[in-house]
């Protein structure tokens, strides 16, 4: 199936090395998502939501790996058990904080995407749908808490 971007990310991160690995590690980093002008009508009432899912294309990823050693571990895991970008479909997902909307510009407070990232979809975060209880996180249990200051490197280019 074929998709066209609905917009593009403007971010202070110009290279993969300087990116945080998830928005939780990028609290202070602001950026914008520029939505295509012909889609602005679709943003109506979005400003009532504090948090959004952004679904985007890892546009700088050139390869797929079925087993990856993620930033947070030294052992390999199946790519579907990680958030690593070299996936069979290089689609990214982040929960970001919406600070405000001006026209077709979404002001985002905790970006973890590269400048120029093509955005595929924006959805409101709704706790009733999106916040499960009694969550287990497998290999990541040991890594929890180490995430906040972890930066990316070149392994996923």
């Amino acid at each position: 199936m074929t998709f066209e971007p609905i917009g593009v990310v403007h971010s202070p991160f110009k290279t993969i090395e300087e990116m945080p690995i998830q928005p939780a590690g990028a609290d202070a980093v602001a950026g914008t998502i520029e939505i295509r002008p012909d889609l602005v009508e679709g943003l109506r009432d979005l400003d009532g939501f504090s948090h959004l899912f952004v679904i985007y294309h890892f546009h700088q990823v050139r390869q797929t790996q079925l087993t990856v050693t993620p930033f947070l571990d030294t052992r390999p895991h199946g790519v579907f058990a990680t958030r690593a970008p070299k996936r069979p479909n290089p689609i990214g997902l982040s929960v970001v904080r919406l600070a405000g909307i001006e026209g077709n510009l979404l002001h985002i407070e905790n970006l973890d995407m590269l400048e120029g990232t093509p955005v595929l979809d924006i959805k409101p975060f709704v706790p009733e749908f999106d916040q499960p209880e009694q969550v287990r996180t497998g290999w990541l249990e040991a890594a929890r808490g180490r995430v906040l200051n972890q930066k990316s490197d070149r392994r996923f280019e």
Copy 2:
């Protein structure tokens, strides 16, 4: 950009009318996601996670609407302020509970997808990344609590 499905959903919901609108409304409904056999290596260690994001194609959606009146309200909202399927890119996102894995079959406990839904990606749900605090949900505030028993209808075919 073009993506190929990584798998397919097997669900008791054969038509749009009988679907719940989100997994929170489908606690008791079990189903499976059948991953392509050539991608099974990518599932390694996924069984340690209790919850997954499933990113999928709303394959029965034929139209885009920039303004929609969602199931949970009587007033129109911009499509990006809703989870409605008739989006510029008909991509769905659900948080589901993983009950177990057998070979290339993921057993899911709270499905809200149609039989035959093409799956684009699977990611582990990680509270540190995916569970924001102090969430506001705009027009949905009034509708919260009404979600659990809401069923779909034909408006999004």
